[in-house]
Amino acid sequence: MYFRANNSGPLAFTATPTPSSQWPTYGIDYPTWYVDSTKVQEGGSSYTFNPDGKDAAVYTIKAKCGTSVKAIDVYVVTCQYQIAVEAPSDGAISITWYGNIPVAFSVGHASWRLNVVPSNAINVVPLKTYASILRKNVGFHANSQTVILSGETLAPTPTLHVPDSASGKLKTYDISLINLLAGAAHTASFRASPGDYRLGTYFRATKFIHPDIVTLIDWNHTSSRNCASTAVAAGGACGETLPSPYGTWMAYIGGVSIEYRGDMPFTLCMNL
């Protein structure tokens, strides 16, 4: 069983007669070579399969001699790193209100997905090792400080981030199998030990209640480590250089002044 990454070279297969060292001759040249049910070559101990230009799928290479058949499955796979970024359409941050009191701030969400086509390729070596995280949307969440896969239930329910659906702005990067494996190893390691979540380097929310300015949130971190940062880092592990998610954003939203600095889906979304 072989995997071939995109744009890889041809694969040569050799069939060996046994027990004799000679192929039988009964009026036709043996062995007869097939790809799935299509005869591709008559005679010759070797057949070369070229995956270039072929759709991502499983191809069964068969060498037939009389009633004897030997087959091997070749997986031609497409490997992709996909990033989905959802940012509030009117700006970088939106607010959930309880009456006119802000109770939660949403900076949007960024998630990533390591995609493999065909889907059943994840059940065989070497992708089998990462089957649990491949073809799933992966995102780092604020409240639970965990790495969530699509379909998983969050506890506690996120208020800062949307669930990991591939919504918003989607960008796909075609990557090699080697880079997909590197990205999968990175993602698996990150899921096992997510570390601390840090929304941004600076976040200040104030409300002007005449004549005073009431501070709702005011904190600093040395760096961000949030959904946008980690989605970009996963892209980096896959060998892709994504735009910077770092930026600042200042505005009034519903009478609340927001000043934010750090990695954020809005910057990423605008620059993708």
């Binding site: 930026g247 600042t248 939203i253």
Partner: protein
């Protein structure tokens, strides 16, 4: 400055300017142009390679800005009513000639001298072009949108409202690949200016030095997304959101500290509604997840 840095700078400013056929470029906000040489200087002095994730923090530095009068040509004298020149003492090969009319910058000429030759890049503000995508169904709506945008542009032109003289500008910059962030403190000026110039969006704001209250902010990408403007007492002003055709979507006013009802329009600028502020917050919540 590396070739890469130059490309980034060029990429940064494509947002604001489209070239007219007569070599006058379109300008929306003026500060992005006036601060450009300062960012270029910071980039050329920076020895660290820029990163996409971690910002390179530039140690705070001062630039002396000089605002003087200049004598326009006869034609310009008739077309505009106020003229001034802005230059930086530390950047002696660039100066800005500002042409104002009705208290709004109408044209900005960047005069650059290099190797003994002088080139002039002209920028012009064209509100009609900015508002051209709004359906012509409601003249009052278009006029109100124009009035709001003009007030935002006027506030953003604050550098050109400073009295003639010399000012010390203190820049605190963070530079990344494709993103330039800065805080600018101006001597004898009660507000500080903040900006984030990214490849495809710009966010700029003015805040009170003492109270840190945000009195003005604009976010724009291909068009102005949202903006707000308040007076220095934080008692009067507005918060507004725009459709992608640049027409007003929501407008909520603050009058003498009291939050007024919110005015909403559909994308055609019709179906005007007044809704209580609290109701509007519920509408805003619908987009929240």
């Amino acid at each position: 400055m590396s070739f890469r840095s130059l490309l980034l700078i060029i990429g940064l400013y494509f947002l604001s300017f489209n070239t007219f056929s007569n070599d006058i470029k379109e300008m929306l906000f003026s500060s992005t142009i006036i601060y450009k040489p300062v960012i270029e200087m910071a980039l050329s002095n920076n020895t660290e390679p820029l990163n996409r994730q971690q910002p390179t923090k530039i140690a705070p530095f001062e630039i002396r800005m000089v605002i003087t009068r200049f004598s326009p040509s006869g034609e310009d004298k008739n077309q505009f009513d106020s003229f001034m020149q802005i230059s930086f003492k530390e950047i002696n090969n660039v100066k800005f000639q500002v042409f104002k009319k009705n208290n709004l910058v109408q044209q900005l000429h960047v005069v650059r001298t290099e190797s003994g030759s002088t080139s002039i890049t002209k920028y012009e503000r064209n509100l009609n072009s900015l508002l051209s995508k709004i359906p012509k169904t409601n003249e009052a709506y278009i006029a109100q949108t124009q009035e709001i945008i003009a007030s935002l542009l006027k506030q953003e032109d604050f550098l050109t409202d400073l009295p003639l003289g010399e000012y010390v500008l203190t820049f605190e910059l963070e530079l990344l690949t494709g993103v330039f962030i800065g805080d600018v403190y101006i001597s004898d000026y009660p507000y500080y200016f903040r900006f984030c110039f990214a490849n495809n969006y710009i966010n700029i704001a003015l805040s009170d030095k003492k109270t840190k209250a945000l009195i003005f902010a604009v976010t724009f990408g291909k068009h102005i997304l949202l903006a707000n403007l308040f007076d220095k007492r934080m008692s009067n002003g507005f918060e507004c959101y725009f459709y992608s055709n640049q027409g007003l979507k929501y407008l909520t006013n603050l009058k003498e500290g009291e939050q007024m009802n919110v005015t909403t329009w559909n994308v055609n600028g019709t179906d005007e509604k007044k809704i209580p502020f609290e109701e509007w917050l519920k509408i805003m919540n619908k987009g929240n997840k």
